[in-house]
Each structure stands twice: as C-alpha cells, then as structure tokens.
C-alpha cells in the first residue's frame, strides 16, 4: 500500500479534531479548578474549527482514503459540519447546568469531544470495521457521560441500562456484519454493493445478516420494538447529557443506517427486504411514540417518546428506497436534531442548583416569567408538531412527498393521523406556558445575554429555515445523490 497526501486530505477534519481533543486533554491537567473556563472555551472552539474544516475540505467527488477505510464526500462534509455545530450548541446550552452540578471538569469536555470524533468517524466511514469503531467510540463516551454523576442513583441506573442494551445491540450489529462478510467476502461498503448487484452473494445469508443489522440499527436509533432504553436513559441521565444524547447521535445513527443499508445493501434483491422491515418499525414507532407521550407528566420522558415517533418518521423517508427519500430523511433528522437541541436545552436552562426542571408543571406560566424563552419554546413545539411556517412542517412534507411518490399512500395517511395525535401533547405544553399562571415557588430564571442570544439564535434559525428551506434541502439531496 502507498500513503499519499490524498489520505490526509480526506481525513483532515478527523485529524484536526483528534489533535485538538488531545490538546484540551493535556492542557486541562495543568489548569486549576477555577480555570476550567479555559478548557470549556477551547472545547467549543475546537468543535467550531472542525466544523469549518469539514466545509473547507469538502470535495466534489467522493475521495476514498486509507485503502477504502474512509471516504470524504458531500455527505460526510454536511453531516460532519452539522454534528460539530450541534455538539457545540449542546456545550453552550449546558454551561450553567454542568457548573452547578460539579460536572464542569476536563473529563466531561474531552468525553464530549471524543463522542463527536466517533460520530465524525461514522459519517466518513466506508468500511464496516471503521463504522463499528466509530460507533463504539461514540457509545463508550456516552455511557461514561451518563454515569458521570456518581452520587445520583438514577444516573447510575440509566447508565447500566444504556450500557447493557448498547452492548447487546453492538453484538447484534457485529453478528449481522459477520453474516454479510460471509456472504460477500468483503467488509468494504462498495465491494459489498458490487457483490449484491452482480448476484454473487447468496440472498438467504444476506437477509439473515440483514435481520441482525436492522435490529442493531433499531436499538441505536431507538425505534419500536427496540426502544425500551430511550425513556429511562433520557429521564435518568443528567439533563445536559440528555441534551447531547437527544440531538447529535440521532443524526449519526441515520448516517450509520444510510451507509449500511443504502450504500452497501441498497440494491435489489436486498432492498425490498429491508424496506419491509423498516415499514414495521416505522408503523410501530409512530403509534407507540405518539400515544404513550400523551400519558407522560415528565417532560424528559415526553420528549423521549416524541423522539421515538420522530425516528419512525425518519424511517419512512429511508424506506422510500430512492435518493429523494434519503435526502428527505437526512433533512428531517437535521431539523429534528436542531429542534431537540433547543427543547432539551430549555430544560437545562430552567434547572437551578438543587432543582431539576423536568416536570411539565415546571413550564407553567413561562410566558410571564420570560416571554422570550416561552416564544422560542413555542416555535420549537410548533416545529415538532409540524405547523407552518416552522421548518418541522416542511420536513414532514418532504418525507410524505417521498413516500407518496413511491406508492405508500396508506402509510402516509397513517403518519399524518398519528402526527395529529402528537399535536395534543406538544400544544399542551404551549397551553401551560401561555395560559396558566406560574406557581409561586418557581425559582428565578437564569437569563444572561449569552443564554438569551443562544435561545433566540436557535429559535430564529428554525423559523428562517422554515421560510427558506430550499438551500439546506438542496444540499441534503445533493449530498445523498453524490455520495450513496
């Protein structure tokens, strides 16, 4: 093998992030406790720099590197930049929260950075081995982050559940990968695709491996019937970690799914097999997520069930089985991750020292306490419901267009009906914020110029995307078409 400068070009954002992460890790050792601010600012700066480098080093045609282990293409550039932005937003939202709870430490920042590194590895992987290593890097960092508050029994319990089920799903994914290897004799995604197209691979073994792959992917994305961990982990983890869990990894999970199912196994006769499996997962997720969320009084659990239903919607886009549908699913996931960032971020902003804002009641009368927060939360909830002119409406529309175009009319009617059911619990939160009086013992709100700017940027960004979704949508479609 030869090592060329192309290899480094393709891996530039990854190399940059890893170098910066190790820099933060080493620098943090030299800092005193009251100087942690420095590593916090450097972590956010590293993420933003990596995000910019994803854009700066983007390539027109897919550029394979390291013997086909990774590939730099439009998809990895778009997803990488978005992931970095999302994680930087996560850190920005949770500053006060982690400081009040003794989590404002170097370990926290470096684990977040390593999780991002894992997601970037997944986004640019073109080999099952690197996909799996990126996934493990992400999962290991997240397990540790969930458990980082050792004095909280609920966090430890959530971490145990997450760890055990995560290990189980990794096992399933690996078993499925070994079957695919057995059928095609390769772990490289393009080589697998070639074997599938030419019909050299035995379809029975492929489908057998596919069952395990879909089950493993279902666990990672948290769709029914592999969703059991989602509400418990979201509820038990510290809110700042829930914020991280609920946004960026969803996008990474979708890319994992696109790389495995579409790039490697996206041709007939396997395509129709996983389409059938995804229909079942999507139908169950939409129903269970939306209906169970109604019964929740805890907002973290409510948003967890809402995540399940939204992931069901994303699966609809994937199962359409053509480029436009994959682009719609990618657009939907990016929009969902940005919305979830705002919604979970608001939960961390409302929490104070010794007080966790996690019940719906805690949002009662938010309009009187801080009209700007309430307005942004209103925009976020409208976007999750899918009410125009927020971007959530446009995202749902494109996914529905994609599946109607492929003849799934009944499925799209079903999805719309269950979104209507979902509107109930999102609008209930709006009613609590605007039409109810705040409770007397509500603690004062944290509202500094920085948090107001962040919240407004998030809310107005989603509104702007809703009015002018074209550019991002085009980028998503183009990324999918040129990369997969």
């Amino acid at each position: 093998m030869t090592f060329t400068s192309n290899d480094l070009m393709a891996a530039a954002p990854l190399v940059l992030l890893l170098a910066l992460t190790c820099g933060v890790l080493l620098l943090d050792l030299l800092l005193r406790d009251e100087q942690r601010q420095i590593s916090y600012v450097l972590s956010i700066a590293s993420l933003l720099a990596t995000g910019l480098s994803c854009i700066a080093f983007r390539v027109a045609a897919p550029l394979p590197a390291f013997n086909g282990m990774l590939v730099a293409d439009s998809l990895s550039a778009l997803v990488g930049a978005t992931l970095c932005l999302l994680v930087a937003g996560t850190l920005a939202y949770s500053r006060a929260y982690i400081r009040d709870r003794g989590l404002f430490t170097g370990e926290y920042f470096t684990l977040v950075l390593f999780a991002t590194f894992g997601m970037l590895v997944m986004a640019s992987a073109s080999h099952l081995l690197t996909l799996y290593l990126g996934l493990e890097l992400l999962s290991l960092s997240l397990y540790a982050l969930v458990a980082l508050r050792r004095d909280s029994a609920s966090a430890i319990e959530a971490a145990m559940k997450y760890f055990v089920l995560g290990a189980l799903s990794s096992g399933m994914l690996l078993y499925g990968m070994s079957m695919i290897y057995g059928a095609t004799g390769s772990l490289q995604l393009n080589a697998i695709a070639d074997h599938v197209v030419t019909g050299h691979a035995n379809p029975t073994i492929l489908v057998f491996g596919l069952v395990f792959l879909v089950a493993g992917l279902g666990f990672k994305l948290g769709v029914v019937p592999f969703h059991m961990w989602v509400p418990d982990v979201y509820d038990g983890a510290p809110s700042s970690v829930t914020l991280l869990l609920g946004s960026a990894p969803k996008l990474a999970g979708l890319v994992l799914m696109l790389r495995i199912l579409v790039e490697a196994l996206g041709a007939q006769p396997v395509l129709v097999e996983w389409q059938k499996m995804l229909v079942i997962l999507a139908v169950l997720s939409l129903a269970l997520g939306n209906i169970t969320a109604i019964a929740q009084t805890n907002i973290k659990r409510m948003l967890a069930y809402s995540t399940i239903s939204h992931m069901g919607f994303v699966l609809l886009g994937v199962l359409s089985g053509y480029g436009g549908g994959y682009g719609a699913a990618l657009f939907y996931t990016i929009v969902y991750a940005l919305t979830a960032l705002g919604a979970f971020g608001m939960i961390t902003l409302l929490s104070r020292t010794g007080f966790e804002a996690q019940m719906l009641e805690d949002f009662r009368g938010l309009h009187e306490r801080n009209p700007w927060y309430a307005f942004v939360m209103l925009v976020l909830m409208f976007s999750l419901t899918g009410i125009p002119p927020t971007v959530g409406f446009y995202a749902k529309l494109t996914v529905l267009q994609a599946i109607i175009g492929q003849g799934y009319l009944a499925l799209s009617v079903y999805a719309v009906l269950l979104s209507l059911v979902g509107a109930f619990y999102y609008l209930r939160l709006v009613k609590l914020m605007y039409f109810d009086a705040p409770s007397a013992e509500a603690p004062p709100l944290l509202s500094t110029p920085a948090t107001r700017a962040l919240v407004l940027a998030n809310g107005l960004g989603l509104l702007a995307l809703g009015v002018l979704p074209g550019a991002l949508m085009d980028w998503c479609t183009q990324a999918v078409l040129s990369s997969l």
Partner: protein, 204 residues
C-alpha cells in the same frame, strides 16, 4: 476420523462443557476458572486452524492477564450468590425458547448448504516455515493503519472513562505530601526550650 478431527472434537467438547459451567457454577471463583479453561480450549482450536499468533495472544492476554485480574476482583468482592440467582429459574424457560429459535435459525443458514466445503473451499495449505505473526503485523500497520489508530483512540476513551468514573478525591482523606515532608527543617518540628533547672523536691 483423522487425528486433527479428533483433536477438534475434543477441544470443542471441553469448550462447550466449560462454557456451560461458567454460567451454572455456584461459586464465582469456579466460574472464572471454567472461563480460563474455555479460553484455553479456544486457543487450542485456533492452533488447529493455523492461527498461532491469535492462539498465543488469547492465552497470554486473556488467560494470563485479564482473567487473573478478574480472579482477584472476584475474590475481593463479597458477592451474594443467592441474590444474583434470584429469578434464574423464572427466566430460564423464555430464555431457552429464544435460544432454541435462534439455534434453529442458525442451523438453517449456517449449515452445509451455504457455508459447506463446496461453497467455501478449504484455503491452500501454507508452507512449513510460514509466519502468520509477520503477515498480521504487516497488514495491521499498513492496510489497517486507520482502524488501528481508531482502536487506540477507543482505548484512550476507555482509560479516561474508567478514571473519571472511579477516581474520588475526598476532601476529608488524610494523605502525605512528600515534597512538604522533604522540605521540613529542624526548626519547624523541634523546639528547644530553655527551662530553668528545678530543685528536686525532697523526697518524703
């Protein structure tokens, strides 16, 4: 039956038997010892497959290092076996049902029809002096350089996570500070008092 098939079945039987005992033995120390036995038999199987490096690594790393450490931990812990075994029999029936279905599925797919010698011919025998350690080393640091580095990062994350989760610096712990100890001067610790001598009282 050739000699190598005989050895294969022997190791396979020991492996399965000891693996079963790992989960059924009552004493956790026995479980760990059975696990050591199953690793050793697996290493034997790998030698049969001419994967000597993997076999030696398994014995050295897993048996020699990991399991010994494990044994220490298990001996140190005060494990309540009765509590661990709670619900064992309740879960046994559904677990057996699920396992049974999976075994049938795997038999259907993994049987001779798809993975038999006709479909997957035996690889050519390698020359006598062939070293697969050299082969592994050669591809590991060239062809697989990128995943190799990623694996190193995974280990780094594991180290950070393990330290972050277990290191506790308690404020009330008493500890010694060697640099302070070395820097101590006589004047800090010893006080020479100048006391006027006293007349000893006359004994009774």
């Amino acid at each position: 039956m050739s000699f190598s098939s005989f050895v294969f079945y022997l190791f396979a039987l020991i492996l399965l038997g000891s693996a079963l005992r790992v989960i059924t033995a009552r004493n956790p120390v026995h479980c760990v010892l059975y696990l050591v036995l199953s690793f050793a038999s697996a290493a034997g199987l790998w030698v049969l497959l001419e994967a000597e490096f993997l076999a030696i690594a398994l014995v050295l790393v897993y048996v020699g290092a990991v399991m010994v450490l494990f044994l220490f931990v298990v001996m140190m812990l005060d494990i309540n076996i009765e509590r661990l075994r709670e619900g064992y029999w309740d879960y046994l029936v559904p677990a057996l049902a699920v396992a049974g279905v999976m075994v049938v599925e795997m038999l259907v797919v993994l049987g001779g029809r798809y993975f038999g010698l006709l479909e997957m011919p035996q690889p050519e025998a390698v020359a006598a002096g062939h070293s697969n350690t050299r082969d592994l080393g050669r591809v590991l640091y060239t062809f697989y350089a990128y995943p190799f580095e990623l694996a190193a990062v995974v280990l780094l994350v594991a180290i950070i996570a393990a330290i972050a989760l277990t290191l506790r610096s308690r404020k009330d712990t008493r500890y010694q500070n060697p640099s302070q100890q070395v820097g101590v001067r006589k004047a800090d610790r010893v006080r020479v008092l100048n006391m006027p001598s006293e007349k000893q009282a006359n004994g009774s």
